[in-house]
């Protein structure tokens, strides 16, 4: 099957999946007690029936559920994610203003975790049982077992409060007037703590997985054959072992991309990072249906896109995959 046909079939499947996700989400959200009108009335500190009725009409909650669903699905098909009455803005605008911050943080965390995780795993696998191996694997276990929010708080206490090296929250220094390179550096400084916090867990997972996978592949017959033929060790490590050992890591990376948004909720809350993880969390607490559905849909799209990308990477690493599939 050619890559083009493969992509086309995946895209068609994705659209069907997305529509199913949208319907499912629509009903799931309504299972939670309370609706946006009740929340807003509650926050206003005073309310009467007129006020509540006004809100319900505004949100379209006075319509039967199936009518609401029909309106919502028709909007989705036309790429309209609706309006967030709570935030007084179109949902798509809210999401796309906040998406870059999340992509920057999760992207950085993603790259960091793969880079350090794989390198750590390779270093550990080269001399199993050595001090180097034990050290790397102990660190991995610690990061794997420690809750994200605790790491985040400790990092803030150490690097921001005690040492004063790194900013504790925010995307950039508010009101600094920085531009160009200076601004980029400022953002980078703010990026360190949240992205490291988010990266540590997966870094640990990759390190362990790479190590195990390397050791497994190293004992296989084709590696022995290569050794017997006199191929240099460096080349065996890179071309024969690592290449094959990376496949499970790629699988996991695909999964990680999906989980990143979930992890981002916590990290973005602790570090006051203005991304969509927090947008989603706030929308959930406020029962801001349109916004919540919008974030769900966009993150579902991202996950599907990452999955397709993963498949392509698979085919690049091992061209046999996908043949005849």
């Amino acid at each position: 099957m050619t890559t083009i046909r493969f992509l086309a079939s995946r895209l068609v499947k994705s659209i069907v999946i997305l529509l199913c996700i949208a319907v499912l989400n629509f009903f799931l959200i309504r299972l939670a007690p309370g609706d946006p009108a009740a929340v807003m009335a509650g926050e206003a500190g005073a309310s009467d029936e007129i006020f509540l009725q006004q809100l319900k009409e505004k949100f379209g909650l006075d319509q039967p559920l199936l009518v609401q669903l029909r309106i919502y699905m028709w909007d989705i098909v036309r790429f309209d994610l609706g309006f967030s009455y709570r935030q007084q803005m179109p949902v798509s605008q809210l999401i796309f203003e906040r998406l870059p911050a999340t992509l920057l943080m999760t992207g950085t965390a993603f790259v960091l975790s793969i880079l350090f995780g794989v390198v750590g795993g390779v270093l550990a696998a080269q001399k199993p049982g050595s001090w180097r191996d034990t050290g790397i694997m102990t660190a991995a276990i610690i990061f794997y077992a420690t809750p994200l929010f605790w790491i985040a708080l400790m990092a803030v206490l150490l690097f921001s409060v005690q040492l004063g090296w790194l900013p504790a929250f925010g995307f950039e220094t508010v009101g600094s007037g920085y531009t160009g390179l200076q601004r980029a550096l400022d953002i980078a400084r703010h990026l360190v703590l949240p992205s490291m916090t988010l990266a540590l867990f997966f870094m640990a997972v990759y390190a362990r997985m790479t190590r195990a996978s390397m050791l497994e592949v190293a004992s296989m017959d084709f590696v022995k054959t290569a050794r017997a033929k006199g191929v240099p060790d460096k080349l065996i490590q890179r071309r024969h072992i690592l290449r094959n050992a990376l496949l499970p890591v790629v699988t996991l990376a695909g999964l990680q991309a999906g989980q990143m948004i979930g992890g981002a909720v916590l990290t973005e809350t602790v570090f006051a990072w203005p991304g969509i993880g927090r947008l989603m969390f706030d929308a959930l607490l406020q029962r801001d249906y349109n916004l919540l559905l919008g974030v769900f849909l966009v993150s579902a799209m991202l996950v599907i896109a990452v999955n397709i990308l993963t498949d392509i990477v698979y085919r690049m690493i091992d061209p046999r995959i996908g043949e005849g599939a």
């Binding site: 939670a32 007690p33 309370g34 609706d35 009740a38 929340v39 807003m40 009335a41 509650g42 926050e43 206003a44 500190g45 005073a46 309310s47 009467d48 029936e49 007129i50 006020f51 509540l52 505004k58 009455y85 709570r86 935030q87 007084q88 803005m89 809210l94 203003e97 906040r98 911050a101 708080l153 803030v156 206490l157 921001s160 409060v161 004063g164 900013p167 504790a168 929250f169 925010g170 995307f171 508010v174 009101g175 973005e268 809350t269 602790v270 570090f271 006051a272 203005p274 991304g275 927090r278 947008l279 706030d282 607490l285 406020q286 029962r287």
Partner: protein, 516 residues
């Protein structure tokens, strides 16, 4: 003959602690806003964070001193007719909207009679007493009441009656007006930008009608969702002001011990936040007043104040906060007396039916408080089952009367007719909304006393009625009062005159200046 209450503008505007030192101009202040407000258009949204930010953009006709006496703002003086039914306000002459349009009496009539009547649930309840609002000239507004309404001069503060620009909103669909995202008021600060999820920036209004004010150039409101991170933001110097309720109470002693740090619980007098447990009086055993009294005797409220609230606030004596007008403490005082509680329970043959307690999902302090109350009640033999919810679920359960006991706190707005009676009168029982009489308490005597007191012609007559109703309610215990909450504002001591009025930070930056 007019009974005249004209306050000299000159005296009122220069009075206050600012006289001691001469204010310096300039500088920037960083403030925490929590949670992020849903919008800044004060006529459409009135939740706490919105009022705190937008109170510096919009203005009311009056504001209130800490003793709740009315002070001039957009109205420089006012007169009340002898029969207390005609209120005439003289507006300041040189106020302009932030877009340069002059502020006139037409804006007042539009704001109150057209805009807020449609959008503002709380004001709407007070406007029932208003027959007409007219503007004889550009700078005079006359409110004609149907009958005397005691608390009338108490509804002109910015959160209750913000002035809305007629030239922007007249004839539009208010909720969809694009101007909602760039609010325009007459206040000391102008809206500059709002980066959602990050910060809101306000800048000094150079054309403000009060000579020499405001003093500070820029105010940044930072959105920091995590309570621990808000403490860190203060500790690391990123923010200078932590408004009441923005950090967990157990962090307050540590933060106030920091260098150059001041703390005050002033600035909440107008709101008089009073906490209590809703008691669902519709079902047994809560329908028995002896059971409700037993709850009052069982609770150790001094402990809650000292341990959970760091000693801030006061133990509540009844339905009115001590900062509210017509407060009377000549009532039965419920001390911590578990023996008396047990005695009352025995007397009514309480069978040990477990009751459900709904804590307030507003953070750690409230969770701990729920645990403390649970322990107190179980000590006297009332088994308690705690129900966990988030804010939306809590609202739903309260509105649908799906609870036995539930934590809450409400504002009183300075006058029993505005913020107290709504909790106890039977005409205010309506399923589906969270802030009315959700206890389901009905008593004809209480209804009549509240109704008469609201429209009694003189303060003396009102006091007699309110004293009587407070005594009656305290004996009946339709809700179990907890504390008059003391919310600490934590700030750097070099910010001067930050809290000068009864609504504190909500309009605080009009007077504040930096001694740096």
């Amino acid at each position: 003959m007019l009974k005249t209450i004209i306050l000299s503008t000159v005296i009122a505007l220069t009075a206050g602690p600012a006289l001691a030192e001469s204010p310096k101009s300039g500088g920037r202040v960083n403030v925490v806003v929590q949670p992020e407000p849903p919008g800044l258009m004060l006529g459409l949204v009135q939740n706490g964070p919105t009022q705190m930010v937008a109170g510096n953009i919009y203005e009311g006709l009056l504001h209130y001193a800490p003793d709740l006496s009315p002070q001039p703002q957009l109205a420089e003086s006012w007169t009340v007719s002898d029969d207390a039914t005609t209120y005439t306000f003289n507006l300041v002459k040189d106020a302009v909207w932030h877009d340069g349009t002059p502020f006139t009496s037409a804006d007042v009539v539009f704001s109150v009679d057209t805009f807020l009547r449609e959008t503002h649930a709380r004001l709407r309840a007070s406007l029932v007493h208003v027959e007409s609002i007219t503007a004889p000239d550009d700078h005079t507004v006359v409110f004609q009441l149907k009958q005397p309404f005691g608390p009338f001069l108490g509804i002109f503060e910015v959160g209750t009656m913000p002035m809305i620009p007629k030239h922007i909103y007249d004839g539009t669909k208010y909720a969809d007006n694009p101007a909602n995202n760039t609010p325009i008021g007459t206040g000391p600060y102008k809206f500059v930008e709002w980066q959602k999820g990050s910060h809101i920036l306000l800048a000094k209004n150079e054309d403000y009608y009060v000579e020499g004010k405001p003093h500070i150039d820029e105010i940044y409101y930072h959105v920091i969702p995590d309570a621990a991170s808000r403490s860190v933001a203060y500790e690391t110097g990123k923010v200078d002001v932590l408004p009441g309720g923005s950090v967990e109470n157990f962090d307050v002693p540590r933060l106030t011990a920091l260098e150059n740090t001041c703390v005050t619980d002033a600035g909440w007098e107008f709101f008089g936040p009073l906490s209590w447990l809703w008691i669902n009086t519709r079902s047994a055993p809560m329908d028995d007043s002896r059971f409700r009294q037993a709850i009052m005797y069982a609770m150790d409220r001094e402990f809650a104040k000292d341990v959970l609230w760091n000693g801030l606030g006061k133990v509540a004596t009844g339905p009115a906060s001590s900062a509210t007008r017509f407060y009377d403490n000549n009532v039965n005082i419920y001390d911590h007396n578990p023996e008396k509680a047990k005695q009352l329970l025995a007397e009514m043959d309480y069978d040990g039916t477990p009751i459900r307690l709904l804590p307030l999902p507003y953070g750690e302090t409230w969770q701990r408080w729920g645990e403390a109350v649970k322990q107190n009640l179980e000590e006297v033999g009332i088994p308690v089952e705690t129900v966990a919810t988030d804010v939306a679920g809590w609202n739903q359960k309260i509105s649908e009367w799906d609870f036995d006991l539930a934590f809450t706190y409400l504002y009183q707005y300075g006058d029993p007719a505005l913020g107290v009676s709504r909790t106890y009168i039977s005409s205010n029982i309506a399923k589906g909304t969270p802030w009315n009489n959700v206890s389901g308490y009905t008593d004809d005597g209480v209804d009549k006393l509240f109704a008469d007191a609201a429209i009694a012609p003189s303060d003396g007559e009102r006091q007699v009625l309110y004293t009587e109703v407070q005594q009656k309610i305290v004996d009946d215990v339709p809700v179990a009062w907890l504390l008059e909450l003391g919310f600490p504002t934590i700030y750097r001591c070099d910010i001067k005159d930050l809290v000068t009025t009864a609504i504190g930070l909500n309009d605080g930056f009009r007077d504040a200046w930096l001694d740096r």
